[in-house]
Subunit: 339 residues, 2 copies
């Protein structure tokens, strides 16, 4: 995995799956019962280590990703987050009047450190528990994506509330993204120090912005994170994942400085190859093919490998695995990828 991120092509690509520790696994559902809320699970090192290790033990993925959530950052920054079954995350929406206080109240990493300490303990514990050859990935949400939840207060279909907020309050929004970027960079640096081999920045809502907004709210803040992390860890490997960016994938790696890019499942082969000439790529099987199994899965795996196999490629889905995925289909995927 590390060799591929460094630009080397492997005949059999390294493989992991976004959200590989999750509800599709019976052992995850068992452990989940032991925690109170979903965030309790994220903040319990013992349980977070356990669920992170489960898919590694079962499937032997080439990379392990810290079990956590992108919203621990706003949670640690004082915007209380809770998860409701079937509704996703719920936050008190931030108003324009609260932005100044949010920024000044989070000017230093120390404000967040206590709340996030258990997550960093989990990173260290996972690194100890993992086989040496398994890559450990840390992660955070990109500022734009985190801000969409902070502004709407819940999941929406197109993040219109955050887009509107950004149009109405351009300066305040920019300052808010900057502080999110700075604290996220601090957080990633601590994850590296605790044992992460590489990190991924999830910009799950990169696909809802117009071109000017994409440059301003996606590219700019991710570049800021990358520069801040590299100022402290010069060789830090960082995967950018601007999901749904479409044509805006072009130039994204160059502009932000990320080491590699994650492709969602809609990116067509020709364009993926064009991107792969610049940086290693990760992806991009449609997760519903993994649910369907059978021929749809085999054909999908073959198409991804044919499209991306001629350059540095980390095999993954184009988005997270869903709870309705049969475990047997993950085994089928691994068999097909590894041959």
């Amino acid at each position: 995995m590390i060799e591929v991120l460094d630009g080397k092509r492997h005949t059999v690509p390294p493989v992991w799956i976004m959200r590989q520790a999750g509800r599709y696994l019976p052992e995850y559902r068992e452990t989940r019962k032991k925690a109170g809320s979903f965030l309790d699970l994220c903040y319990s090192p013992e349980l977070a280590i356990e669920v992170t290790m489960q898919p590694i033990r079962r499937f032997g993925f080439d990379a392990s990703i810290l079990f956590s959530d992108i919203l621990v950052i706003p949670d640690a920054m004082g915007r209380k987050v809770r998860f409701e079954e079937g509704r996703g995350p719920i936050l008190e929406p931030i108003s324009i009047e609260e932005v100044d206080g949010f920024i000044s109240g989070n000017a230093e990493w120390e404000t967040l450190a206590g709340r996030l300490q258990p997550v960093l303990e989990a990173v260290a514990g996972i690194r100890s528990a993992l086989p040496d050859e398994t890559t450990l990935l840390g992660f955070c949400g990109a500022p734009w994506t985190v801000a969409t939840y902070m502004i709407a207060g819940h999941s929406t279909s197109d993040q219109a509330p955050a887009r509107l907020f950004a149009h109405r309050h351009g300066e305040a929004f920019k300052a808010m993204l900057n502080v999110l970027a700075d604290r996220s960079a601090d957080y990633l640096v601590r994850q590296f120090e605790a044992g992460a081999d590489a990190v991924q920045i999830f910009d799950s809502w990169a696909g809802v912005l117009d071109p000017a907004g994409f440059e301003r709210h996606c590219v700019g803040p991710v570049k800021r994170i990358v520069e801040s992390v590299r100022a402290r860890i010069p060789d830090a490997r960082i995967i950018g994942f601007p999901k749904g960016a479409g044509m805006n994938y072009r130039g994204y790696a160059e502009k932000t400085g990320v080491t590699a890019i994650g492709l969602d499942w809609t990116v067509p082969p020709g364009f993926a190859q064009e991107l792969q000439k610049q940086v290693p790529v990760q992806g991009n099987l449609d997760p519903t093919r993994l649910v369907a199994g059978g021929r749809a899965l085999d054909e999908g795996v073959d198409e991804v490998c044919a499209a991306l196999g001629s350059g540095p490629h980390v095999f993954n889905l184009g988005h997270g695995i869903t709870p309705d995925t049969p475990v047997a289909h993950v085994e089928q995927l691994l068999k097909r990828v590894r041959g």
Copy 2:
């Protein structure tokens, strides 16, 4: 508008707005009260003509679009549709066992004709009521987008149910898209005969498919519609709108045969210009800029005009106008576009 669709560039682009007859207008909300359900409004020629004409009278747009809904087709094909306030459309999800009956039961236009007659009467009535120089647009939903609602039974964030259905039941799904395409083509031909000057095919969910799925479920059925319409109306002007297609916009017009393409608001200027070398383009202002107004709106209009002004361009939003848009902002937009 017609000249632009025929490939001519106008210094001041023709302008209309998707969903321009709608809830942001007080006069629409008044008329809406007179109809029972939302579909009653679509199926009442008198009321449909009235709401279609309202934005023309108020703003003098260059094109008028029939007030209707993409789901009248499945409704007329026996998949009963209703709209719930705040939830959107609700249908009884179609099961794999029902697909054969759906196909054989809708083998002829005559099955649908009675239910859709009032819509065609509305088209004729609108054409009579419109000024001669105002273009009248008919429309339908693309088979893929219509099928996503038929399968899920309601709006979803990523149309996973339809994607999964397509992976599991490839042949049945293809047959279902074909019959939707054939009846949609019949429907568009009748709209032309009733007085439509051009039509638009809305593929609102084109952005959730992987490359193979996009070719199979979006490109294929739209090509089938275009060919079927042109077999009867050789010079039919057809705008394709594969919203969210990203890189898959490339080649879409050539492959489907559409006259022009609608761009969603995420399409960046350089790529839009590349597409515009092949066909006229329509779009693509972020609708939340129209809600925000002020500088965000003026800058957005200027950016769209700068990006697309050097070729054939129909000014529009990149998606429908939302109910929270102030009427004054529509006036501001028109002033900015028309100078």
